[in-house]
């Protein structure tokens, strides 16, 4: 397997979908999605069968290691499920459904490159690929005002964050003379004073701002609820999981491969960011009635939980981030799948559309309940084990700085608040006062299969976490937080 075989395969698949569109009659264009999903499933399986090519290339701009392979597979799974969601959503997209599929694939390519980035140039290029495709994806329902509004809002704020990112990269390049992660790391190793250069630090800070926007951490979260609410459900789903995970992997790489020496001193910043993000997301989610908007705030809160792993500044924390993301993937995608099926043929995305869902379709009700329970972090589902690992990582650091205990306290408050709104959704499903419409919901077989896969994923990660924990621990071995380990890291990357 070549360094970028997977990415090339995805691009070819995307182009094939676009070309296939030319020869497919209008009535059957929707089913191109099956081809796209099938292709992705083949690529995903291939990543397991072919021997992985670890190493770096393109002037050390791109690196394939355990971490990038983990995230590539993660993005592939996310994209497969998102395409199935898009298939369910296809009736509401009047024209250009095949473009919708191929845009998802292009965004996927950007995310997969982001997972491998070892150079600020590649960081920027891959993030722009993701952002630009999302401008289109978010406003794909051209005659729905909300969707256009979401696209515009995302465009403006994303452009702003890209400006921050470029500005930061310029500062970094200006002070260090390079954009390569390994080179910057080397500079920090050799010149102890270099790490105190305030222009350089400002550059790093700006890069964090740019990535924080993708992850939707406070104070760059302002776009999330509006965009989540307005965008078509599959785009929102991909934004919630794919775009966020791309931000996470880049932040991991920037902070703990390029500038671990700096990151080590910024634990206070990370603690404060995590704490405020958790509180903001959870508190704002309480009064929400629109399902997608609620999940938007919940996504902010979850960004805060993910930041816990960053703030912990240890390998346990990084492994916990990866584990939590996996649990989050199944829960969020299951929720969006259910939402896109239930809201079919209705204008409203209000919580009340769920009324009587347990009688309309027991499968949808069960899976959405499982997703909410997992997001709330209750055993025996994936979310519980993920939160457990994150908390464990943070408490582990408590000995070094008592601020960590405050962070744990705020997290607990956040988790308790989140129970309220997640249970609110469960209550809306089972115990609404006047279920308006009790006609059964027809769920197609592919959607059923995806829902069952998501439920199985949540249960598997919650009940049998052993293998997955080992995988995440292996994946984060390339991330080092203390300088003596740098040698080992380089050896691990170039075996």
């Amino acid at each position: 397997m070549n360094l970028i075989t997977l990415e090339i395969a995805v691009v070819i698949l995307a182009l094939a979908v676009l070309l296939g569109d030319l020869w497919t009659p209008v009535a059957h264009k929707r089913s191109l999605g099956y081809a796209a999903a099938g292709g992705l499933i083949i690529i995903f399986s291939y990543s397991f069968f072919a021997a992985p090519a670890f190493g770096s290339g393109f002037n050390d701009m791109l690196v394939v290691d355990g971490l990038s392979l983990f995230f590539k597979r993660f993005f592939l799974v996310a994209a497969i499920i998102v395409i199935f969601i898009a298939l369910e959503f296809a009736d509401r997209i009047e024209t250009g459904i095949s473009e919708f599929y191929s845009l998802i694939l292009f965004a996927l390519t950007g995310m997969m490159f982001a997972a491998s980035a070892n150079d600020f140039v590649l960081v920027f290029v891959s993030l722009e690929l993701v952002s630009v495709t999302f401008y289109v994806l978010n406003s794909f329902q051209r005659n729905r005002l909300a969707s256009l509004e979401a696209g515009i809002k995302y465009l403006i704020l994303s452009a702003l964050s890209a400006a921050f990112l470029v500005f930061g990269i310029a500062f970094i390049f200006g002070t260090s003379g390079t954009t390569n992660f390994s080179a910057i790391h080397g500079l920090l190793e050799t010149g102890p004073d270099f790490g105190k250069n305030s222009a350089f630090l400002l550059g790093i800070l700006f890069v964090i701002v740019g990535l924080g926007f993708k992850i939707a951490t406070f104070p760059f979260q302002i776009w999330a609820p509006d965009v989540y609410q307005g965008s078509p459900a599959p785009a929102t789903a991909f934004l919630a999981i794919g775009s966020k995970a791309a931000g996470i992997v880049l932040l991991l790489r920037v902070l703990f491969i390029a500038v671990p020496q700096v990151a080590l001193h910024w634990n206070t910043l990370l603690i404060v960011l995590a704490a405020i993000t958790i509180l903001y997301g959870n508190l704002c989610a309480i009064p929400q009635r629109n399902l997608k908007r609620l999940l938007g705030y919940s996504s902010i809160a979850n960004a805060g939980y993910l930041l816990l792993g960053f703030a912990a500044l240890n390998q346990t924390g990084f492994a916990a981030i990866l584990y939590y993301l996996c649990g989050y993937l199944f829960a969020v995608l299951a929720a969006f799948m259910v939402i896109s099926i239930v809201t079919c043929g209705r204008d409203s995305e209000d919580v009340t559309v769920l009324a009587g869902l347990n009688q309309r379709s027991p499968l949808l009700a069960t899976v959405l309940t499982l997703a909410m329970i997992s997001l709330a972090g209750i055993p025996p589902l994936a979310g519980f084990f993920g939160k457990f690992l994150l908390l464990k990582a943070v408490v582990e650091q408590g000995a070094t700085n008592s601020a960590y205990y405050w962070l744990v306290g705020i997290t607990l408050i956040g988790v308790v608040i989140s129970l309220y709104y997640y249970f609110g959704i469960i209550r809306a499903i089972y115990w609404s006062k006047e279920p308006a419409d009790l006609s059964p919901v027809i769920v197609s077989w592919p959607a059923r299969a995806v829902l069952i896969v998501c439920a199985a994923g949540m249960l598997y990660l919650g009940l049998l976490p052993d293998r997955a924990v080992q995988q995440t621990q292996l994946a984060v071995q390339v991330l080092k937080v203390n300088s003596p380990a740098v040698q080992i890291q380089k050896e691990a990357r170039h075996p």
């Binding site: 519980f384 457990f388 464990k392 205990y405 129970l419 209550r427 052993d466």
Partner: protein, 516 residues
């Protein structure tokens, strides 16, 4: 699968899975499966308690260990010793009785029994676990169904408020305890980190934990577990929550699940953090008076039978706390005995109040009267429960409370004197007053004729009463089993205080061992 404990835990959980697969129209079959699953669990627990368990065996027995997450040292590890053997028996009996009295549930029966069985499996698993992670995991597994059951099948106008209050309160308690448990795990050096309670105990016996860590972790566990057990002043969720809960949930939660916190304190907090526990137990002794005396007074003023029982249940927890605070062999043995006895008693009283509510449609004590003539069996059972509640000899509560008071006398004479007063006088006042108002006197004006329990329906009440009487007349069945385990807990918890502490802060932690 070679330990009887695994079967005791799995029976209800498998029952839940089977119920999940049964179509919802087959109500009789659903009920039958739930009844059978809890019956199997109960029969196995009785067998374990009377036949498989070896008294005077110093270590945990009937163990089973299955690796779960190797990289973190988490195992499915169950076993019993004197501390939990009685609790598991009690839990299995209460679960069986809870299914028996649930016949009045008519809506969403399938979901109800699934949740009830999951809760049962979680409770039994939590008490059987010797692994910190599973200990917590099973408890959460049991806790969440509680919230849902109160929210859906609960009664009264305050149902929604009660649901959210109990959810938030107990989640905070559980999460505080979780942080404490994680911190405890992280006290071990990197190489040999384990969630195994036995290993942890051994390790900290050899190398006591440092004081700062003890003083940080112990309060987390004390208040985390304390909230779960309705320690005054964090008890307000309990009466309201139980008042709104369906009988089966109130029985399982007030009777069994609530003891999880006490069990955690005895099993984990006391032996692993002796220095901190010796300095904090004064606080606990004072707070437990809040439970016994204050909540007793509150119970006196109640006009709703369920609120009265709920408050009296909070008051009884005070004795367990007092026994723990005494940190003597007699006191701890007494505390565990009270835990078992109160579990049976709370289940009995909530079952009875559920029956009365179902028959009369009210729980307002003022609107009832002379019920004994109409429902002699239920009435007689209620009188016996009230007597057991005031600590009448012959019921299991008596030996437990007596042991606690004997054990605590030396360390806290004043607290003990007030607790005796609270138990005998206040307890008797509200219990007897309730009995008089409900069962005796003239019939209420608008009283419709009501029926006594049929022969089959009498079974759960008779079962719970019989167990209470059995342990009341032969308390040695329990105490002989508890003693060796309590002995080792007390030995670890009362080790001489460390020298470094004497030097560092002699004022902050007034050593009670020295006072003795």
């Amino acid at each position: 699968m070679n330990s009887i404990l695994t079967y005791i835990i799995l029976a209800p959980l498998i029952g839940a899975l089977v119920v999940l697969l049964v179509p919802r129209n087959f109500r009789f079959i659903i009920r039958g499966i739930a009844q059978a699953a809890t019956l199997i669990s109960m029969v196995l627990a009785i067998k374990m308690f009377f036949f498989d368990f070896t008294t005077n065996f110093p270590r945990e027995q009937l163990t089973e260990k299955i690796q779960w997450v190797a990289s973190l040292g988490i195992n499915y590890h169950v076993g019993v010793d004197g501390l939990n053997v009685g609790l598991i028996l009690m839990g299995a009996i209460v679960a069986f009785a809870a299914v028996c009295v649930s016949h009045n549930i008519k809506t969403y029966e399938k979901e109800f029994y699934i949740l009830l069985l999951v809760m049962t499996g979680g409770i039994l698993g939590a008490f059987a676990s010797l692994d910190l992670f599973f200990f917590y995991f099973f408890h959460e597994l049991a806790l969440v169904p509680t919230f849902i059951m109160i929210g859906v099948w609960g009664r009264g106008e305050n149902k929604n408020y009660a649901t959210f209050q109990i959810t938030l309160y107990l989640s905070i308690g559980a999460l505080l305890a979780l942080v404490g448990l994680i911190a405890l795990y992280l006290q071990l050096p990197l190489g040999n980190r384990t969630f195994n309670i036995i290993e942890l105990t051994k390790y900290f016996k050899a190398q006591p934990m440092n004081l700062a860590a003890q003083q940080f972790i112990f309060p987390l566990l004390l208040f985390g577990f304390g909230i779960l057990v309705s320690l005054w002043p964090f008890h307000t969720w309990a009466p309201l929550g139980y008042g709104s809960a369906p009988s089966a949930t109130a029985m399982l939660h007030a009777g069994v699940l609530k003891k999880f916190g006490l069990y955690g304190l005895i099993r984990i907090a006391l032996p692993l953090m002796p220095d901190a526990s010796q300095s904090w137990l004064h606080v606990l002794a004072v707070l437990c008076l809040g439970n016994i005396v204050y909540c007793g007074f509150v119970a006196m003023r109640q006009r709703d039978l369920n609120l009265l029982i709920g408050n009296s249940s909070v008051a009884h927890m005070g004795f367990c706390f007092l026994g723990i605070a005494s940190l003597t062999l007699i006191g701890i043995t007494g505390a565990v005995t009270v835990m078992v006895a109160h579990g049976l008693l709370a289940a009995l009283t909530f079952a009875l109040s559920g029956y009365i509510y179902q028959q009369t449609g009210t729980l307002d004590i003022r609107q009832m009267g002379g019920l004994l003539r109409q429902i002699p069996f239920i009435g007689a059972a209620l009188v016996m429960a009230a007597m057991a509640g005031c600590g009448l000899p012959g019921f299991a509560n008596f030996p437990g409370e007596a042991l606690v008071l004997f054990g605590a006398w030396k360390a806290f004479p004043l607290v003990t004197a007030l607790a005796v007063w609270g138990a005998l006088v206040i307890g008797a006042v509200y219990m007897l007053r309730a009995v008089r108002n409900i069962l005796h006197g003239p019939m209420a004006a608008n009283q419709t004729p009501i029926a006594d329990a049929s022969l089959l329906r009498k079974l759960p009440y008779a079962l719970l009463l019989a167990t209470l009487l059995l342990f009341g007349f032969v308390p040695s069945l329990l105490t002989d089993k508890i003693k060796p385990s309590a002995q080792s807990i007390v030995e670890m918890a009362t080790r001489p205080l460390k020298i470094q502490k004497m030097e560092k802060d002699s004022s902050a932690t007034a050593p009670r061992a020295a006072v003795k």
